[in-house]
Symmetry: C2
Amino acid sequence: MNTKQPTDKPEIILTGDRATGPLHLGHYVGSLEQRVALQEIHEQTILVADMQGLTDNAHNPKKVSSNILNVVADYLAVGINPLKTTICLQSQLPALAELTMYYSNLVTISRLERNPTVKNEVQNKGFERSIPAGFLTYPISQAADITGFNATLVPVGDDQLPMLEQTNEIVRKINSLAGRAVLNECRPLLSNSPRLPSTDGKNKMSKSMGNTINLGASEKEITAAVKSMYTDPNHLRVKDPGNIEGNVVFTYLDAFHQDKAYVSQLKEHYQRGGLGDGTTKKVLEECLQDMLRPIRERRAEYLSDKAQLIDILAKGSQISREKTEKILFDVKEIFGLNIF
Amino acid sequence: MNTKQPTDKPEIILTGDRATGPLHLGHYVGSLEQRVALQEIHEQTILVADMQGLTDNAHNPKKVSSNILNVVADYLAVGINPLKTTICLQSQLPALAELTMYYSNLVTISRLERNPTVKNEVQNKGFERSIPAGFLTYPISQAADITGFNATLVPVGDDQLPMLEQTNEIVRKINSLAGRAVLNECRPLLSNSPRLPSTDGKNKMSKSMGNTINLGASEKEITAAVKSMYTDPNHLRVKDPGNIEGNVVFTYLDAFHQDKAYVSQLKEHYQRGGLGDGTTKKVLEECLQDMLRPIRERRAEYLSDKAQLIDILAKGSQISREKTEKILFDVKEIFGLNIF
């Protein structure tokens, strides 16, 4: 686990995932591994963002609802401990919707349209002017999520930094209206791990592209994924020198293989010539199979007892409901609306 | 009370007011009078729209919070009976905020920007691109209010018809996703009474323009308002013929004087010449003083017992909370989110 910032003092951490698909190795490297470490020191809440998942999936809601428990099982399988981390479901926390309504009056449409993350996603999804209102305004909803827990530290990728800027703008407006610091400004916690590429080495990881390895991937799926992995397209004969830059197999070995010295040796050999992609892929496959086998097994076990998963989510949501209602009370107080 | 549509069968009626100022004679003619009649036959809910009031007053929240109980006192003073009409406070109904979130994913930004009512208001308020997100999206919040009670009939001015169109578009999308009629489409109930002009005869009624007569206006305020009322600017001498078109005194006499034959006589006399504005204003003033005296007295009495007003609002909000939670449950069911 790598974190840039010192985190000696316990922080209030809010993190989460859109429940639009099972989690994959990209999530593992980018954040899950980090969360498992963070839960030991900090007050960490993980939000399963089903409502946010619907902002661009309202016409295909099964994509969200069918993945809620999968995501919870993914968390547990990688070592998130519900006794140390509160896992909750966004749609079970009405205070977040209410905060979103209040904050919406403090953010202009043009401010939202300037948000680089949203701009980018709107372009990627081809929304243009047919962008759903809920999608354009989701930075406000995210601000409600973060401030609803009064989070001080939010683990994000650097592409998500504009979201925290938007959140802190809202925090400052609320605090200025209140005349005192009701809400905490939050700081980003950037991961030191470089972003994991997709198995095709080109596109963004996406379930529909088939270029990810899910945490629950079967043995066969792992084999197939490693087999089809992008390497050095100019490395045609085993004896030729190969390129490790952009070679996904080596990026994954760097990320997952425990024996860093052995990976260094392999890299040198590959660059010198005489090491075939079949061999490097075999090493990676064995590494991933070993790593994912226990995760897959634990995941399947958790998923075989849905009542337990629901119970974990329900208990976490109850705790979170109390926290978020308190913040909502403070915000409504600013607007003079706690009259009964 | 005039209603265009037949209303023999009990309907579910949702109506309300933004809590941004005390109610005035324009509200009385346009809707309060109608509501007093409707409560005898129908299931009527009146929503005190504090959250909607904040969509363009977030930086001056007192304008909203200080008027909530005033508006409730106005209702009771004109004859709204809390045993027959449920009076509730929007900010006490989290289900409305949650419904707004779900519906936001079904409405595009460009659809909102095309809404004629919003377009008009954006222009009037001089928002242009600095329009708050909550203001642009308030038709979605209104759809949540209406469908949250599964209203079938919504009393509106004709300028509000685009709001009901937007609501019914959302209803059809929700019902289509559900594959069955979960939500009712609503019909407008237009008042037969023509819109009451402001006392200056030119601008929209507004507290800041000082061109309204509040239901709680003092005797002196009524005297001053009638004195300054717009008449016929070319009616310079008593003996000259006067014009009753656009003459606010006559419009108000039409709206409020009980003796229609007497008003007809006055009109003929005025048009013929020989009737001064001082005289017609005296008639109107007497009529308004008689009409508003008991309303003002009842209003003051209600406002002297704030605990009672809060109790009425709290009880109505509790009933409404149960109703709106049921609808929210049905909508969440469509999205597969009632997992615990």
